[in-house]
Assembly symmetry: C5
Homo-oligomer: 252 residues x 5
């Protein structure tokens, strides 16, 4: 998921640059870019509380930079921990906690080690899952709004350029270039919307589903650790969350 995003952006922008050919410089117009990006940002600030917008930047960056650990890997770890618990008791997990990278799993295991009630652990972890879902939903919503505002701001910029050009047509040789500049804001708005905002909103939705599934696997796994379930039956239970093609048991 992580790698397709930069590849996609590079491919789409690469095609645009390729289409432009040699005259790339004439497509770079900082004021035009400022109108579209600044106007869109301003309208987003009117649309959502500041806190939500800032949080979304974090969510998007985190989503696209850190790859989601594979569910199979998390299952493998949980089954391993389950064997440790069987042999040496739940406190022995203290030594394994350093090897976990997912903060959600760390939180769950730590609560298990601390001897919290299973129902309490579940409550806390489910609430985290809800918060994740809300953050992602809010993020998608703001990205979709950005995807609608960017072309609108592009059109406003083009209207500005057209009005300026129409008011000053004494020198016919400047009409073409002026109109070219006027069209650049529409161009920027279309790219921001169709290469960045709308596609990223789609991927955030996919990612959200995958991450929720991972969290649910971890919640089920931690619950089993606390109740001392048999590793083999735990593995079977956790693998049933995956599509059959990915169900490779690690215990023989």
């Amino acid at each position: 998921m992580d790698i397709a995003t930069p590849i996609g952006i590079i491919l789409a922008l690469g095609m645009v640059v390729f289409g432009i050919g040699g005259g790339l410089a004439s497509f770079v117009n900082v004021p035009s870019l400022l109108i579209v990006v600044g106007g869109m940002t301003g309208a987003l600030l009117v649309s959502y509380p500041l806190g939500d917008i800032l949080k979304v930047f974090g969510v998007v960056l985190k989503t696209f930079i850190y790859p989601l650990p594979a569910a199979t890997e998390a299952i493998g770890q949980l089954v391993e921990f389950s064997q440790v618990v069987r042999r040496e008791g739940i406190l022995a997990l203290e030594n394994s906690i350093g090897s976990i990278s997912n903060p959600f799993m760390i939180k769950g295991i730590q609560m298990a080690i601390d001897g919290r009630e299973p129902s309490e652990i579940e409550d806390v972890l489910y609430m985290e899952t809800e918060k994740l879902k809300d953050r992602h939903a809010k993020g998608s919503e703001i990205l979709m709004q950005a995807g609608a505002l960017a072309p609108a701001m592009g059109m406003i910029g083009t209207l500005i350029g057209l009005v300026l050009m129409l008011q000053n047509m004494s020198d016919p040789s400047t009409i073409g270039p002026s109109m070219a500049v006027a069209l650049l804001t529409t161009f920027y708005g279309a790219i921001i919307s169709n290469v960045f905002a709308i596609p990223m909103a789609s991927k955030l939705k996919s990612r959200s589903k995958d991450e929720q599934l991972l969290y649910e696997i971890i919640i089920t796994g931690v619950h089993s650790l606390v109740s001392g379930e048999n590793p083999r039956s735990l593995e079977m239970k956790l693998l049933s969350f995956l599509p059959p093609s990915q169900r490779k048991p690690t215990l023989e």
Copy 2:
């Protein structure tokens, strides 16, 4: 929430002014603005009962001018009142009521002091919450309709300008400026829709959710005051309405 709105409007309009550059005067055309704003207002009057439209102005102004008190602050006050009630009985709140700024909380506390039945207090406060929700929903709906009507009126204005220009093309030097003026209504319509109406409808929805949460906290708090609940357990109950990151207990 309160501060992001003017910043956003200033940023978006600032970008537009920056894009226009020196020729700002040629973008100010009072008749064009009247066509868009007047036409939009007229069509809104056809769309909604007069009372609803007037009420919406109030709702929007109130929403954007008065910041919503932080939920944490309301919780702090309610816990404090709960301690007062414990020590000196419910009637002692009479002295504290002057320190409350939120009218909804004043109403609830006043009813508690007056010795009304808990169920009656809840009924009245829940009905107020419903009314708030309806007012906000109606406000969003009317703002969205305005966001659809403004560009339509802008287009009608541009059509008027184009027809006038096309009927009188004897002097080619006037064509450009006439068309520039014709485009101004579309320009105004796009700005009203994308910088004001649609973003404000979005923020009203966010604000409505936050205010409903605040009201629910207050309802729960007043209920606890009347039933003489322990301040510590009240605080725990009220904090559970907040996302974990904001849960800072004030009682040690």
Copy 3:
């Protein structure tokens, strides 16, 4: 509700006329208007059964011409009748029936006087309410369809004008005026859609909700009359249908 509609239409059309300025005559083109209105009507006849379209005209006219009686007034009358019933029995309402203007209330009271079963009265009145709701919903739907068809017909008219103009460009001085005429159908389509059809569909929806509330108040009131309920408790029950700001009891 009644007065805002003509004011809104006059305001919106007034702005359009103001925008046009002196050249109003050149914006009146009967054939263009016929294309848009006739084409829209034709496509509506293909869209809905003739009976439904005719009924909608009636519904719209009635809605916009007759103001809805205030709910408070209906409550006042019902409470008054309730006092009459208390003093002189249900048959005494025979004398009051002439003073009622709302046909729905007349029907309910008449059935009460005729000694029909309460459940039968309710059945009949609820069915009337359902019919009202259906009529209004159908009306909104047809107005929305008209609001979509008018601009489409406007565009078809403009295409006709453009094709005619393009086929005959030998005399350049006629190009401008021909194109101006071609744009008039788009202009008419936009006005019909955005000043009349879509806003009227919105208002019909608001009105429908208000009228359903009124009917529900009347149903509850008639039911109380038949079962000989106490006027004071009837008033309290009926006032609870209104938003608190309108709840002014008439009994002291």
Copy 4:
């Protein structure tokens, strides 16, 4: 319902012809029509299984050619049959079956005469009703898709015409007429969509509701015939399906 469709089509097309005026011949361009109709048909074949598309033609034709028998007429017949059954037994309906024109009612009555179980008759008739509903829903969906594809194909045709024209601008006198031809596909697409496809989809939906109501009346009626219900109570039951204004009892 039946008559409004051709009237509507004639009115809408008549307005278009009236708008065109004398130059009708220049609006007839068989290749342009082929691009729009052929392209739309091709894209529909990609969109739906062949069988569904063919079936839809049948459904549409049948719907628009055969008028739906009035529900009151069906009720009259069913009440009459009920009297016959009362006097002479269910087998006496054998003589009346020739007078029925609605195939759905024939099927129901025939099953009643054949002595099938009431529950079996209901099952078969309800399944037929479901099939009717599905056929109509599929028909509306395909017509709506056609209504979206026709303008798209019109735009593709116009793009073809524009590109051809732009590549060959040596003779300025041909530019106008070439562009006129290019616009014809957009014109055809708009008419197919707004006069035929979308309005017919709307009417199919209305018709489907009416026909389902008729079928339900017949199912209830046949059920009553089999269980030997009193004609008067049957009539009352069947009339309750109609809006009050149409409820004219035939039994005195």
Copy 5:
């Protein structure tokens, strides 16, 4: 279903080629095609995880290349197998398994022969059905997104062409051809969207419903085989899944 897709594509593209006439070569522009297809692919990679996009290609190809076996055929086979089971026991199906072409039915029969529990067989087969549904839903969604991105990329390409042309208008004779090339990306985007992406998404939805019905018939059939149901009653049960017109019993 299978044959209508290529016929539809050939018909639609044929109409386009026919509309173009002799100058087909001037409509082939590899860089323009690369901008649209490459840009759309890039934006799709940003929109969905790489794995999902690759899987969709498989789903689409499989759906459009392999025809879905007729449900009647599957019913015939299942009834035949049921007779075999009656005469020779479930293990005798081992010889028939080679004659089955549908992998889903093979899987079900094989599990039956292996003596798995009926409930376990059902679980596995229902999970497969769910996966099929998900794959198809994901496929439709990605195709719809492609159908939205292709015209957007076409517009971006046209903007590039327009800007390049406007910046270099010294030689008027090149304006027409440059603009023609600029329009080609919009042309390609419209064709990809309206002839391929959106119609294929529609057909995938139809196909998905048909395939789910087939799977449900097979699940019911395999369940009956395992429980040794009477062939005649099995046939009746399976035929009830089909519309009446297709219900031809094979057992006499």
